[in-house]
């Protein structure tokens, strides 16, 4: 199914859990924060949060800034 990750279209398995998506992106265990359709998804919910078609995922990290 089609979803959006960080503003880019992506093709992923149907009903993939967030944890599995993070794993395919090689980001498991990295210091990130994730939003699904504008709402924060805590790390503790990654296994249970299943994705649907058209979902917008934002994966955020710390960068240098003032």
């Amino acid at each position: 199914m089609q979803i959006e990750i960080n503003g880019e279209a992506a093709e992923v398995e149907e009903a993939i859990p967030m944890a599995a998506l993070i794993a395919t992106l090689a980001l498991t265990g990295k210091r990130i924060a994730v939003e699904l359709n504008g709402e924060l998804v805590p790390r503790s919910r990654f296994d249970r949060q299943l994705l649907g078609p058209g979902d917008r995922v934002e994966i955020i990290q710390a960068v240098g800034g003032g």
Binding site: G7, E8, R31, A62, V63, G64, G66
Partner: protein, 265 residues
């Protein structure tokens, strides 16, 4: 090498004590190595970061800012840089809190204009109210309006941070009497944030009674950032000591320093 400040003169923000009154941003450096060297030279214990999209699929081994500035060693202060409205500022703080394992300390900035990067104070008030209710410890970037500073304090912000001059401008404190008024009326720490350019600017902020100074460009854009970081460290300490020492009153006319008696001419 300057001595650490006396135990009694620690900076206290949201119940946490700090020896350094210099807070430093981590943007605009040449690379992570220079960032780390400059922060080390500055003696800063609180460093700001921004939160942005991860680059998916690019250089998987690339180190992250938090690898060189670990949260165990530094107090990481996430900012809401680039936010021009309440919703994005609040979203950013929630993401940052998750990123930092539930730490509540954030720097709130809601910008109003791209050219000056002055804060939209109306939006800042609204965002501050939401964030304080949501349990955040908010250090808030604002302009040098004493009325706005007091309103933000009354909303429950843990620190108020008036700008010296526009972000990245290096113009120094444009309205020292406004900063002085803010300091005199505040019951929370007041830190000058934005617009500092060189060491004397930082010293002036401390002489006005500020609890600390937050700067980024002044160090990162210096010809020698590590040396400037060292200068800033000393300037903050010198300014703080001068403030605590109680300066002499300025006079219009001269007052001789040598005796007027025993003259042999």
């Amino acid at each position: 090498m300057s001595q650490a400040p006396a135990q009694s003169d620690r900076l206290i923000i949201a119940g946490q004590e700090y020896g350094s009154r210099l807070l430093v941003g981590t943007g605009k450096y040449k690379d992570l190595a220079e960032t780390a060297r400059a922060i080390e030279a500055s003696g800063a214990q609180i460093v700001t970061i921004a939160v942005r999209r991860t680059n998916i699929g690019q250089t998987p081994g690339e180190p992250n800012i938090l690898d060189v500035l670990p949260p165990e060693r530094y107090t990481i202060l996430p900012n809401t840089a680039g936010c021009y409205d309440v919703d994005t500022a609040v979203r950013t703080c929630r993401l940052a809190r998750e990123l930092l394992d539930g730490r509540n300390l954030v720097k709130l900035e809601v910008l109003g204009d791209e050219k000056t990067l002055f804060p939209d104070v109306v939006a800042t008030l609204a965002a501050a109210e939401i964030l304080v209710k949501d349990g955040f410890d908010v250090m808030v970037y604002t302009n040098d309006d004493p009325i706005m500073a007091k309103r933000l304090e009354e909303l429950g912000c843990v620190a108020v941070m008036p700008l010296a001059a526009p972000i990245g401008s290096g113009l120094g404190i444009r309205n020292p009497l406004n900063i002085l008024t803010i300091v005199e009326n505040a019951k929370v720490p007041v830190l000058v944030d934005a617009g500092v350019g060189t060491a004397s600017d930082a010293a002036v902020a401390m002489e006005l009674g500020c609890a600390g100074v937050l700067m980024n460009t002044a160090i990162a854009a210096a010809r020698d950032p590590v040396l400037m970081a060292s200068a800033m460290r000393k300037a903050i300490e010198a300014g703080r000591e001068a403030f605590l020492a109680g300066r002499m009153a300025p006079k219009r006319f001269a007052s001789a320093s040598s005796p007027l008696t025993g003259l042999f001419f």
